[in-house]
Every structure is written in C-alpha cells, then in structure tokens.
C-alpha cells in the first residue's frame, strides 16, 4: 500500500480538475464546436460534440479524472442535460478554490463559504423563475373549438405548418402574447416586458441553426411529405430577423380560423426558448409532445388528469445516410427490417395484424434470467429413429405451429431472434422483429391488449393482441440507396408511442444528432415537470455573479453575516476568523461565474474577444450592484432591450426576438454537483493506492510515495 500527498499549497487535484474541464470549454452555450478525438495507436477518430461523449472517449485514469467522470455521468443519468455547465463550472471553481489557497484561506473556510455562497445564489435566482402553467390549454381548446375536424395530429397546427415555420409567431401575435404574459412574468411586482437578455442564442438561431430548422421537416403521422420551404443560409445571415417575419405560415392560417389562439404559442414559445439554438431538433421534440398530448386527450376524452410529457414513450430511430430533411416524428414504432423482407411487408400491408410480444430472445437455447443450466446433464438418443430433425428444427416447427394456431403474423421480440426462424416465418407471411425496447413492448401491450411472454409455450389466446398495421415508413424509392435495411412503421389505434426518426446525411453526425434530440426532449420534459423555467441566456448566471459581488461587499463593510458560511464545528477558531476571509472567497466564487459568462459570450461570438466580454460583463455587474437589487435590474434591462443596452446591434425588431429559457432543477443540480466535486477534491490531502508494494513500482514513480 502506498500513500501520496497531493496537497501542498499547490493542489495537484484542483489543477487536474481545471485542466480536464478546459477540454469541454467549447461545448458551453448554444454554439458547440465539435471535436475530433483521435486514438494514438490505431488512428481511430470520433467526432464529438457533447461533454458526455467527450469524457467517455478521454482516458481518465487518475482519481480526479474518475471522480469527474462519475459526476458528469451522475448528472447525465439523472437529468440528461446540464453536463457542459457542470464541466465548465468544475473548471472555473477549481481555479477559484486554488486562488483562495494561494491567498492563504484555510481549506474548511473555503469549503464552508463556497457552499453557503452557492446556496444563497440558488435562493436568489428564484426571482428569475418563470412559471410554466397550462401550456396545453390552448391546444386543448382549439381542438374542441375545431370540433370534428380530424381530432388527430391534423388539429395540431404546428405539424401542418410548412417546415420550419411556427417557431416564432408573427409580430403582432407575439406582442399580443407578450402583453398577455406580462402579469405572469412580473415577479418584481411591476409589469415588465421580458425580451431577450443577452442576445447570444438569437444570432445563432437566426443565422446558423434556423436554416437547419427550416430544412428539417416535421411530418404528420400520415407520413406524407410536405413541401419544404428552404431559405438560403447566407440570406438568413445577412438579415437576422428576416426569417422570423417570413414565418407567418401557421399562425396566420390558424388565427384566421380560431381567433383566440394566441395562447397556443405558449408551448411553442417554451420550446423555442428551450431550444438553445437547436431549433430544428426542438421542433421534432415539440411535435412529439403535441402528438402525445393529443393521444392523451383522445384517450381520456376530457383531459382531467394533468398531462405529463412522458419521455419513456418517445423512441428514436436513427437512419444515417438519408438527407436531414426526412427527420420527422411519427406515432407508432419505426424500425429497420432487412431489405429481403420488402415483399413480406408488402403482403402484410393493409391488413390488421395479430401480434405476440416475446421478452428475451427467440432462440431455442434461450432461458429466462436466473435459470442456471446444469453442466452435468447429458441427453442421449434411445434409438436412431429421430435423427432426421435436429432439435433446432423441431423447435422452429413448434414455434410456427403455435403462431399458426393463434393466427399470429407479427412477433415483436425484445432480444435476438434465431435466423432460421425469421426466414421460415417470412415464408409463412409472418414478420419477426427483434431488439425491440421494453417501453415499446409495453406500449404495444397496452394498446392492443397483448400480454408479453417469455417463451412461445406460454402463448395463449389472451396473450395475443390484434389490430396492428404495418407500412413502409417511406416508399422504398425514397429511401433507396440504404443497403442496411428498410424502415417500416408499426402502429395501432391509440398507441402511446412516438418514434422520432432522425436522419443525417453524414453518418458521423448521427450520434450527435440523437444526443441533441434527447437533450432537447429532456429539457422540455423537465420544464413541464418543474412547471417553471429560468430566464435564460445567461441571466441566471449574471444574477448569481452580481449577487455574490453584493454579498462580498456587504461582508466587507458590515462585517459579520451570520447566515453565510457555516463550519461543521462552530467552536473552532476558524468560525471566528471566517468573516475576515469571506469576501475573498465569495469574490473567487463569483469569478467562476464571470468566467462562465465570458466563455458563453466568446463561444457564441457575440464578443470579439474575451477581454471585450469581460469588460461588458463588468460594466453590467457594476450597474446591477449599484442598483441595489440585481434581480430587478435584470428584469428591467430586459425591457430596456430596445435601447440596446445589453444588445448593441439589435436595436430594432427586438420584439421578435424569442426568449431564451433554462430549465430549473437540472441546472441548479449541475451547479451543486460541480461545487461538490471541487470541494471534495479540495478537502482531499492524499491518495492511498491499495495493493502496491515497493517492488511493483519503478523508481520514477516512487518519488513522493510513502509506504506502509
């Protein structure tokens, strides 16, 4: 066993943390630059555009690296978003903690003041929360108003709109909506308008991502192709707001039909605000939410139960190699079957299918989990009479017999399927689909009344569901050139399952596209679950920064601030010396926010240089702290956006600038996790390597190690 001291004024652990975190700097904010990660040995490279993927491909064998990886994974597994924020703040705050160490602040004081400082920030940012309520009301009303108009997706204007439209309402509608929302959003007591804060994501949406959004189309579940409205990328870039005013597709149509529909833009507005520059992907997510909502309404008649966006019933199907315009959201299950099954599908089209759901593998040797096969049982043949058929064939015949008996022509299998069986079933006009997700199985079980079974021998009349239809997702001609398979759509009346078909012409981008889809989906999910969002675009972080500055100044002038900075042992001398160190630590913590904001601005290219960004932030922090109430300042500046205080160069047409929102819980958790990690490393003074003796180390490594 060996022991290494890692903390002597220069904290190696903190340095490593900030080093690792630096790699993810460009993933912060709406404009993410992709990275190539190349393996040193075999020259394999991966295209990466998210923090999680980055850390997955980095070699983080050091203890600190491992802890960082675990923290990012924990955030990702719980919330699926906020990892870039987490990574960046880990870096920013480990630098802040290191600064404190250099200034001679004792470690417990740094830990105490930083965690209570962040806690205070978390309380303060509640001022910037925007409640999200009844975003579906208008959707629901419109459905009832429109009466018998196809109560399907068709009634959802967003899905019918020409692609790319609908994100932003027309100017007068927006004004109308904004005035409606005034009372809701004015948290400081006086009515304020809340246009964009920092304009960071706006340019992105308008310039780069909008064209993507325009290109990708959102289709209805009928899978008919709509005409696609395409704008020139350059055209958009030269005039940032042009596309917005051009998008009068759905709203005009819609408002003409039902006058009181401006509230409909609530969900749209929320989605746009949460898209963080990825409008195209968010459109898909929003379409999925709308679809799910309508399903829920149809099923429940009158939505008495509050609708929740159930992410577990959304599924992705990635089709690399197809143009991005084909991305869409469908009700039902889209999966890829081998090209050889085309004739089979053609035969099964236009007829209701009877379905059996098999959990586990559909192979002869499969046993359920927990079944331990004995090694000492030997089967012998009594005579030669049965040698004709192998047991595999016997089993295949048996399965077919059962399927025929219950007239089953679709088998959904969660695991693998035996090749010969698939073939034989194909000859018998029965389709077997393997590797079906468990939530898909569950959705089918609910919709068609099938009961999932583990073995074919369990199948009885009650297990079989009926009424599933199969179609090609696109006509075979449209997806021609894909040698890997043919996408098909399985659906049934009232199935609570949505597949987002994601396509990308560059296969290397497929993973990133899928990741982006889930990020957007979870963002919207948490916004709806929390029933509140933050004003985004850096407003929250700016408030934290100004709040900490004020706290630091207060504790300088007023001295003790009893609520801030708590040591586990209050009788320790550190507790009484804490007030002396508090301003220093708070300023360092605020410095972390400062770095965050300037990185955000630099990444979004709103500022030519880091220096400019810092000056800009500094200026506004001064104003905010001078005003006494930073939250009020921010809310006010939102309304003063017209005069271009935050927003040089956006002096006109600001009303059209969509708001940017941030999700509440995942964001605040990411902060806390980041700080927890930094403090965990800060409080650590040595690493103990178990199971190491002198002999196992070469002489270079022994330096600095103590042996027991």
């Amino acid at each position: 066993m060996a022991c290494r001291v890692i903390n002597k004024r220069q904290h190696v652990g903190l340095q490593q943390l900030s080093l690792f975190a630096e790699t993810g700097r460009t993933f912060l904010g709406p404009v993410k630059s992709s990275k190539f990660v190349t393996g040193g040995d075999c020259h394999e490279s991966v295209l990466i555009s998210s923090t999680v993927r980055l850390l997955e491909s980095l070699d983080l064998t050091s203890t600190v690296g491992q802890l960082l990886y675990e923290a990012v994974q924990a955030q990702n597994n719980t919330y699926r978003t906020g990892t870039s924020t987490l990574l960046f703040l880990v870096g920013a705050w480990s630098r802040a903690a290191e600064e404190c160490l250099h200034l001679g602040v004792p470690i417990p004081v740094i830990a105490a003041v930083m965690s209570e400082g962040l806690d205070s920030c978390r309380e303060e940012v509640a001022f910037l929360q925007v409640p999200v309520h009844n975003v579906f009301d208008c959707v629901h009303n419109s459905r009832t108003i429109s009466g018998l108009e196809t109560p399907h997706v068709g009634s959802c204007p967003f899905l019918q709109a020409p692609s790319g439209a609908g994100g932003i309402p027309k100017e007068h509608d927006f004004k109308h909506a904004a005035s409606q929302l005034l009372t809701v959003y004015s948290l400081s007591g006086r009515p304020v308008k809340l246009p964009e804060f920092f304009n960071l994501p706006v340019k992105v949406e308008a310039g780069k991502e909008a064209s993507q959004g325009l290109k990708s189309s959102v289709h209805t579940d009928t899978c008919s192709r709509k005409s696609v409205l395409t704008h020139s990328r350059h055209f958009n870039r030269t005039n940032n707001s042009l596309w917005i005013s051009k998008q009068d597709g759905f709203l005009e149509q819609y408002s003409a039909a039902t006058p009181k529909t401006y509230r409909c833009c609530d969900l749209v507005e929320l989605a746009v605000g949460l898209s963080h520059g990825d409008l195209g992907t968010m459109k898909l997510v929003e379409a999925a939410v709308q679809l799910q909502y309508h399903k829920a309404c149809v099923q429940q008649g009158n939505c008495t139960v509050p609708f929740m966006f159930d992410v577990s019933r959304v599924f992705t199907c990635c089709l690399p190699g197809l143009p991005e315009t084909l991305s869409c959201v469908c009700s039902g299950y889209v999966t890829v079957v081998p090209i050889a099954s085309i004739t089979l599908i053609e035969g099964l089209e236009n007829q209701p299918l009877r379905v059996v759901l098999i959990e586990g593998d559909l192979v002869e040797s499969y046993h359920h989990l927990g079944f331990n096969e004995s090694t000492n049982i030997k089967t012998v043949l009594d005579s030669v009479e049965l040698q004709g058929d192998s047991s595999e064939e016997l089993w295949t015949n048996y399965v077919l017999q059962v399927l025929t008996q219950f007239n089953v022509n679709l088998i959904l299998v969660q695991g693998n399927v035996s090749e010969p069986l698939t073939e034989k079933c194909g000859h018998n006009k029965r389709l077997v689909v393997g590797s079906v997700g468990s939530s898909v199985m569950q959705a089918f079980a609910e919709a068609v009344g099938a009961v999932p079974v583990t073995y074919v021998s369990q199948v009885n009349a009650d297990c079989v569901g009926s009424g599933v239809s199969v179609t090609f997702w696109r006509t075979p001609l449209e997806v021609v050139g894909r040698s890997s398979g043919m996408p098909i759509l399985l659906k049934t009346e009232g199935i609570n399952l949505i597949t987002a078909v994601l396509t990308h012409s560059v296969p290397a981008q497929m993973q990133a596209k899928e990741d982006r889809f889930w990020t957007c989906a979870y963002r919207l999910h948490y916004a709806l679950e929390d029933e509140k969002v933050f004003l985004g675009g850096g407003a929250v972080e700016f408030l934290c920064l100004s709040h900490l500055q004020i706290l630091a100044e207060q504790s300088l002038s007023k001295g003790d601030h009893p609520s801030l900075g708590w040591l586990p042992n209050t009788s320790c001398w550190l507790a009484s010396s804490l007030p002396a160190y508090r301003p220093t630590v708070l300023k360092c913590l605020a410095g972390g926010w400062h770095r965050y904001l300037s990185a955000l601005m630099c990444n979004s290219a709103t500022c030519p240089s880091e220096l400019a960004a810092r000056t800009f932030i500094e200026h506004h922090v001064q104003n905010a702290t001078a005003s006494g109430s930073p939250s009020a300042y921010i809310l006010n500046e939102y309304s003063k956006l017209n005069s271009g205080i935050f927003n040089a160069g956006f002096s006109d047409k600001l009303e059209q600038v969509p708001r940017v929102y941030d999700i509440v819980t995942p964001k605040m958790e990411a902060w806390r996790r980041a700080l927890d990690l930094v403090l965990l490393v800060l409080k650590t003074d040595s690493e103990v390597i178990t199971g190491l003796g002198h002999a196992q180390m070469n002489s270079q490594e022994v330096g600095g190690l103590l042996f027991l």
Binding site: F371, E373, I377, G691
Partner: protein, 570 residues
C-alpha cells in the same frame, strides 16, 4: 520421484519496535489517520492505481479495510481497531490515533515496557471508573423524552464526516431522518426487554440529499415494466403472503456430482415446470395473495399466478429476506414440495411508490419495527460515505438506549480526562498505585505520557494551524488561531469550548496545551439547564468511546510487549 526441499529457517527479530523502519511506518500510519480526524479532517482517495472506482473517505472503517499494512505490529493495531469498529461503529479513528500516541510516548520514556504496561493498565481503570461514575464531569444524561440530545448526538456524527458533502440544512434533514428511522424500530408495546427492529438503507443515488426519506415497512425495488404489469391490488384486508428462499426458476442446479443421463424424449424442464405449476395450484388453493421469492420465479409460473390474481414478486435478494420474514411472520419456504400452512404470513398493505427514477413495492406490515431509510446523495462516493455514517449513527443510538449517557465531544472529554489523570497522579498517587512495585516517579512519567497522548489526540482535531488551549476550571478544549500574540484578551479570542457547553464569557482562565500548568481538579459543574432547546452540543457515544479507550490502551500494551517477531519464510 519426490524431491525434498530444505525448509528455510524462520526469521526472528528481537525488539521490533526499536527498528527505525517500524517507527517510520508507524508514524506514516499515524499521519494518515490523524489527518482524517474530526469535522475539518482531510479526505483520502482510496483506489487501486489501475483506474475504476475511487473511494473518498475519512472514516476509519473504509480506510483500515483498504490499508494493507505489512508489519505485524501494525497489523495488530489495525485489526483490533477494525474489530472495535465492527462492534461499536464509532470512535475508530479515536482508538487508532490514541493507540499510536501511547506507543510513541511510551518509547520516549526510559522505563521498561513492563512498567509502562502495568501503569497504563492502572490509568485505564482510573479512566473507565471515572467515566462510569456519577462524579464524571464530562458526560451528560440522555433524555429520551425529548429529541434534543439525541439530535445533537446524531448531528455530531454527521458533521465529523466531511466526505458526506452535506451543508447545514442537509445535516439537519438527515439527522431528523435518522432519529425517526431509529424511533420506528422501537416496538410500541414493550415488555420485559425490548427487541429493536431494523432500519434498512435503500440506495437512491444521484438525487438531492434532501429527497431522502423514511418510510415504515419494506421497499422492494422493481422495474418500471413490472410496475406497469402489476395487477391493481383489489383487496382491502390483509394479504396472505408466502415467502420463498429457494429458486422457483425451474432449473436443476442441484443435481449433485456425476453426470445425469437423460433420454432424448424426456424433458427435464417440463417436469420441473409441472412441479412449479403444482406448487402454484397449492398456493392458489391456500388463498395466498402475494408470493415473494428471494430468487427468480419461472415466467410460466408468474403467468399462472397472475391469471389467478396472485401478485408475484421475485428477485427480492438475500438482504431483505430476514426483515421480510420478520415483518410478515412467514417461515421462508425452502422447498417446492408441500408447504405447511403455518409458513404463510400476513402483510397489511402493498402499494407501489416512485422515488426519483426508481420504482418500489412498498410492504406495510401490521406492527412495524422495520423501516426503510431511502438515502439520496449526489454522487457514488459521497453516498457510500453517507451510508456508512447513517449506519454508525443508528448504531450509536442503539448503544445509547442501553447506556443513556453521552460524552462531551469536540475534544473536551480528552482534555478533561487528561486534567483529571494529571491531578490524580500528582495528588493521590497511592489511590492508583496498588502495591505492585511501581514508584511514584514512574507513575508521574507514565501518567504524563498517557495525558500527552490524550491531549495530542485532542490536538489532532486541528488541521489548519490553529492551537489548542484548555481552561483551568473544567478542563475543556478551546480552539484558537495559531499565531496569536502572547498577551491577548482570551474571552474575545475564544468563542465556545469544543463541545459547545461553555462560552468564553464565563470568567475562566486558560493555558496552552503545550505549556505545563499546575495540575487542577477539573470541575464537573453540569448545569442541566444549559441543554436548552436550541443548544447545539457536540456529543459522543459513551459506550463506543469507552470501548475505544480500552482497545487503544490494551492494544498499545500488547504492541509494547512484543519482544520478538518470528517470521516463517517458507
């Protein structure tokens, strides 16, 4: 042809403690342990050097189980501390550091080990008698009619584990939960003796700490799919339960040795399944409502049961078997032959619950002394530390119910005890020395070594360059900034003593630990009123600390007594 290899001779080392390497390793070990001690102790990252899980901890149980020490003397030390921790959960670092200090200090004196050992024993019994006596000035009675002292006890434990990464609110939340969980394990109708129930800690990692909660009864984790498939529970009355500890998966893993030859036309699996279905029929005819299985239930049997409206829950796991059997009053069924009706039990209610991303079956028994503590923390390593800490706290509460006293924490007991020993050794040496040939001078030397071991243990609470002073009235522990000027206004510089009982404004006088002041009899003025509703004392478990003290002194004596280490080189 067999070959005989000559055995290597055993290696015999005399006076192992005099060797420099042993002293050096002992001081490294002591350094590692000392730096972890107390609320502002530093953490250690434990890992195997090859990547993978990193444990960040400052707890003795986690540290010592991962430290592989080589020298036998150190092994004695770590083993006896681990043994103490497994019995009492708390005060592991206290024991280990005190033991190291005692060995080091004994080596500094010129006395023979025998004398030191003899006198150490006397001093130990002096201490234990004092701590157990009514006259003891550093303990307070635990009042079970209010939560105040109990909460202080739990809070002190939580605060002394910085790797849990809790802020104040979270400490308060978790200590309230721990106390509630403990209270739920106390049976309502007490007869002659109480049998305490059990708190099961259910992991819920990745969630906020404040999402943690306590529920009466047992939580069994299940998948979301299982939840969807679960039949609506119709019955309003109690459910009849069968609990299986054998596998119902229909396999034949216990065929014994040798090979079993089976004819091609025979299907063992079908035979096993038939047997299972027969079992199912019996369960249905016995009107069982709920079947719980430690291992796996065959899907066909599950299907069969669900058709007959019997809820089947499998893969419960071995850890839950004992509490399940206790709560429901079932005899775990170990065979799939016939079931005696007496093995069935009763559960009052079964419902489902969702916490974070996990789904659970929630079994609510009739009379519960079993509860589930659903514990959340943001990351794995902090969760593991928090779990250990909660277990320690629950254990300490159990120990406290047996011996309803708490020692003053924060170093005050150590300094108080040192003052007491010093005073006794100087003023009443004859009460310690009982005619076994030790002189008073020897007693003075050993008592000084003993006291300085205690004081330097208390001093180990300081990690940031501060200094320790004691008052010369109560002998309590006070912490002070390191480089303070010599002439100071003490009351302004100090705030409260380590345990929080006394304030510096109470007209006390202080002296540095390192300066030798005149021995005084520490007063045991314990105004019970000071333990008011908002007082915030740091307390330690009496039972655990007493045992720690004993283990430390006895282990130190044992190690000091080592005269040879004989190593078998073969």
């Amino acid at each position: 042809m067999s070959r005989l290899e000559a055995k290597k001779p055993s290696l015999c080392k005399s006076e192992p403690l005099t060797s420099d390497t042993v002293r050096a390793t002992l001081s490294v070990l002591k350094g590692v342990l000392t730096s972890c001690y107390g609320p502002s102790g530093r953490l250690k990252q434990l890992h195997n050097g090859l990547g993978g899980y990193v444990c960040t901890t400052s707890q003795s149980s986690a540290l010592l189980s991962n430290l592989s020490v080589t020298h036998p003397a150190l092994k004695i030390l770590t083993t006896s501390v681990q043994n103490h921790v497994s019995c009492f959960s708390d005060c592991g670092l206290f024991t280990a550091i005190l033991c190291c200090n005692l060995i080091e200090n004994a080596q500094k004196t010129d006395l023979t080990p025998t004398t030191v050992i003899k006198l150490n024993k006397h001093l130990l019994s002096l201490c234990t008698n004092y701590l157990k006596s009514e006259a003891c000035g550093c303990r307070i009675p635990v009042d079970f009619s209010s939560t105040q002292i109990l909460l202080c006890l739990v809070r002190s434990i939580l605060r002394s584990k910085p790797a849990c990464m809790l802020i104040r609110k979270e400490v308060d939340h978790i200590s309230a939960l721990i106390l509630r969980a403990f209270l739920l394990t106390i049976p309502e109708n007490t007869e002659d003796h109480i049998i305490l129930g059990k708190s099961i800690i259910v992991p819920l990692k990745g969630q906020k700490v404040t999402d943690s909660t306590v529920l009466p009864g047992i939580l069994i984790e299940m998948s979301e799919v299982q939840l969807m498939r679960m039949l609506p529970i119709k019955k309003s009355s109690a459910l009849k339960v069968a609990l299986f500890c054998t596998s119902l998966s229909g396999d034949f893993s216990d065929t014994g040795e040798g090979t079993l030859v089976v004819s091609y036309r025979m299907s063992l699996e079908n035979a096993a399944l038939d047997q299972l279905l027969n079992l199912g029929r019996q369960l249905i005819s016995d009107h069982v409502d709920l079947v719980l299985c430690q291992k796996v239930i065959h899907p066909s049997l599950k299907q069969f049961l669900s058709i007959h409206h019997v809820i089947a829950i499998d893969r419960v796991g071995v850890a839950l078997m004992e509490p399940l059997s206790k709560v429901t009053g079932t005899q775990p069924i170990g065979s799939i032959g016939s079931i005696s009706p007496s093995s069935y039990g009763i559960v009052k209610e079964l419902c489902t619950a969702k916490f974070g991303s996990k789904h659970f079956f929630h079994l609510i028994p009739n009379e519960a002394t079993i509860c589930s503590l659903l514990l959340c923390n943001r990351n794995d390593t902090a969760w593991d530390e928090l779990k250990l800490t909660c277990q320690t706290a629950l254990h300490v509460l159990q120990l406290t119910i047996k011996e309803p006293w708490a020692l003053l924490g924060g170093g005050c007991t150590e300094t108080h005890l040192a003052a007491f020993i010093r005073y006794k050794a100087r003023n009443e040496p004859e009460s310690i020395l009982t005619d076994d040939g030790c002189t008073q001078a020897e007693l003075q030397l050993v008592a000084e070594a003993f006291c300085s071991a205690l004081l330097s243990l208390a001093g180990s609470l300081e990690h940031d360059g501060g200094e320790i002073v004691t008052d010369i009235k109560y002998g309590h522990f006070w912490s002070i900034q390191g480089d303070c000027p010599s002439v100071v206004n003490w009351p302004d510089l100090l705030s409260r003593c380590g345990c929080g009982l006394y304030s510096s404004q109470e007209e006390l006088s202080w002296s540095f630990l390192r300066s030798s002041c005149h021995p005084f009899a520490p007063q045991s003025c314990l105004p019970h009123e000071t333990v008011g509703p908002d007082s915030n004392l740091t307390l330690d478990c009496l039972t655990a600390k007493l045992s720690g003290l004993q283990v430390a002194v006895e282990t130190a004596n044992l190690i000091l007594d080592l005269s040879y280490v004989i190593e078998d080189k073969n």
